[in-house]
């Protein structure tokens, strides 16, 4: 495959949501054919232009999937599948992206707060943000406040996402924000919160910068923050 064919094939597989060869797509009969992981590996071996690969092979098809989602043709699983493909490709491209001058949109630390084991929503947000070009540092669930604060210190991440599903654990979010304040980090990191029991009103109460209803709103909020 020449460079153009390879990039087109990667883009097609992003839309199909095929991370690897054994994955099925939306179209029939794709199982066994190379997925994004294999194709990006081949592109790296062939020395394909990284910038072009990222723009035409990953970003553009991701935007197409987003448009299909907006129109109702695609649903959340389609968005997640495409975002996972982009995330897998980013992991492989890693240092090459820096060399090619393709910048990450920023580090985003994400965690479910202490006492809460629920992580589905948090995982969805992580996948989508990674697919949208953020460098996501997923700490997992049931993470003590001190560890979250330490991670912000360690990475200098400008964004922190906190998730909670329980009314009993959502209050821990205010502890995290207070601890960031005590450690002199509050002005350096934007705190986004989400989870079923939370709300915009709650975000204001605990001093978060934004409440995000879902992963899509998180992306919109981050875009807005980048503009301001």
């Amino acid at each position: 495959m020449d460079e153009r064919e390879l990039i087109e094939n990667i883009a097609y597989n992003v839309i199909q949501g095929r991370v690897e060869a054994e994955d099925e797509g939306i179209d029939q009969g794709l199982e066994g054919q190379p997925g994004v992981t294999e194709l990006v590996g081949q592109a790296i071996e062939q020395g394909v232009d990284t910038r072009r690969l990222v723009l035409e092979g990953l970003s553009e098809p991701m935007e197409k999937v987003g448009a299909k989602y907006e129109s109702g043709e695609y649903l959340i699983p389609d968005m997640l599948a495409a975002a996972e493909c982009v995330g897998a490709a980013m992991d492989l491209l890693g240092p090459k992206m820096l060399e090619a001058g393709v910048e990450s949109k920023g580090k985003f630390v994400i965690a479910t707060v202490h006492g809460d084991l629920h992580d589905i929503g948090k995982n969805i947000v992580a996948i989508m943000l990674k697919g949208a070009g953020y460098e996501v540092i997923d700490m997992g669930n049931n993470i003590p406040t001190a560890r979250i604060v330490d991670k912000i210190k360690e990475t200098n991440a400008p964004f922190l996402g906190l998730s909670a599903l329980l009314t009993t654990t959502m209050r821990v979010m205010s502890e995290v924000i207070a601890s960031l304040q005590e450690n002199g980090l509050r002005d350096k990191v934007k705190v986004l919160i989400g989870g079923a029991p939370t709300s915009g009103k709650f975000a204001a109460e605990v001093g978060a910068d934004a409440y995000c209803r879902d992963a899509f709103q998180a992306i919109d909020v981050l875009k807005e923050m980048a503009r301001s």
């Binding site: 599948a81 996972e84 995982n123």
Partner: protein, 512 residues
Amino acid sequence: MTELFRESIIVKPYERLRRDQVEHLDKASMAILADPGFWCFNERAAKLYEQHGATVVDDILGSARCRRVRLPEGLVREAVAKAPSRLVLGARNPANRLVLDAEVPRIYFGSGSETNVWLETRMEDFVSVSEPTEKIRVPRFSELRGDSALLGRAARLCDRLEHLDFFIRPVNVQDPGITEDNHDVNKFFASLNNITKHVQAGLTKLERLPDVARMAEIIAGGPEALGENPVISFIACIFKSPLEMVDDTAEKVFAIVESGFPLVISSSPQGGSSAPIQEAGMAAQINAEILAGIVLTQLIREGAPVLYGSVPVRARMDDLHDLYGCPEFNHYNNDCVQLARFYGIPCYSTAGVGDAKRPGMQATFEKMLTHMYMAMSGAQYIHYAFGLLDRTNTFCPVQAVLDNEQVGKVKHCLRDPKVSEDHVNDAVKMIRKVLSSGNRLYARHARKAIHSGDVSDPYLFEDKGHDDRVIEKASERLAELDALPAPHLDASVVDAIFREVPGILPGLRTSA
């Protein structure tokens, strides 16, 4: 063409009755047909029964002279065994043909009744008295007198409702130019010119059967083509319950059977007035009535295609009107489905009538109660399922749109489970794969099922906010469906029909 049929689901039937209970009902019906028998007002039918071994004597019912017919069990069993267990109902679009097989619980849903009232819906804004800035949209309804144009509109709508499988005229034609003589040709033409699915109706006037048959021949492409693809069929409610065989309907049965069209032998007794309200009594009596009708069809012509038509209802005890949305309705109808299966005859059954007079929560409750239950019974041909309100007195197109969504969900619910060895192996492979991934999310693996239609969509008329806007959204959907082009017959076919079939109203003529 013979291989094309409309897709539907085959259910695993829910059987309320044990085998011994079915046999009790069967024996009870045989006992009723032997004594007291039934009161027959059609001489030709009485003679035919007599020629085949029935005991027939003169009788008087009220002040009317009639014949009392007592059927020996052997005659009933022999004749019923001759009725085909499988039959095909044709359609203008061959892909809409229906195959009804007594051995296969493949369910089809359709419209029905012949209401006089068409219920139109419009949305209107209302302002709160206490808070004038608060406004809500409320459905308002107006009643129209059913006519041939509205019947055509109903047929067009039903052509577009993807979960409706066959069409029985849901609205009566009451135009100024409609007479008893031209009623049949107009109702069949208004239907057939607007729908590509199977069309079924009762016959108003015996003498117009040849004209209706000619219309069907022209549409099907000739007598032979009509035989292979019977685009129309008939319903005959031959009994006035309890146990009176009606003279003119019996005469129509002779004519329809002799013409070769598929025929529903239906009966619709009311538990508590014209039949016992108790389940055993209702089922035994209606079964006796239907069997007597089916016996007649097979004595007229062995192997005549016939459906076991059961429309048992219950009386309300406050005014003795019909009551559809109640448990007894389901009991009666499920028993009939099992009896039809026992005799090996496809079942024309009933579900989805709203006692409510307007669309809303009551109608939804009543319809879901019977839509789901009767679908589970495995009846092959379930009528009355779309748009009926105020029992069977009103047809509301918005309600038909709502019922379409409901029937679709019911069909989805009763799909065959996909739990084969292959399915299970695939599932275990998927579970292992997802659990070894970082995010442990199955969402990505739902896509094929979603895009292939294996996974159902949320309720079509839900509102993303806090308000119930179901009727408003269904009205919007109806407007979209109404705006689609009509599936009219070719102009040459319409010309031929108007040339050869007298009495069709000029206003029904179309050119496309």
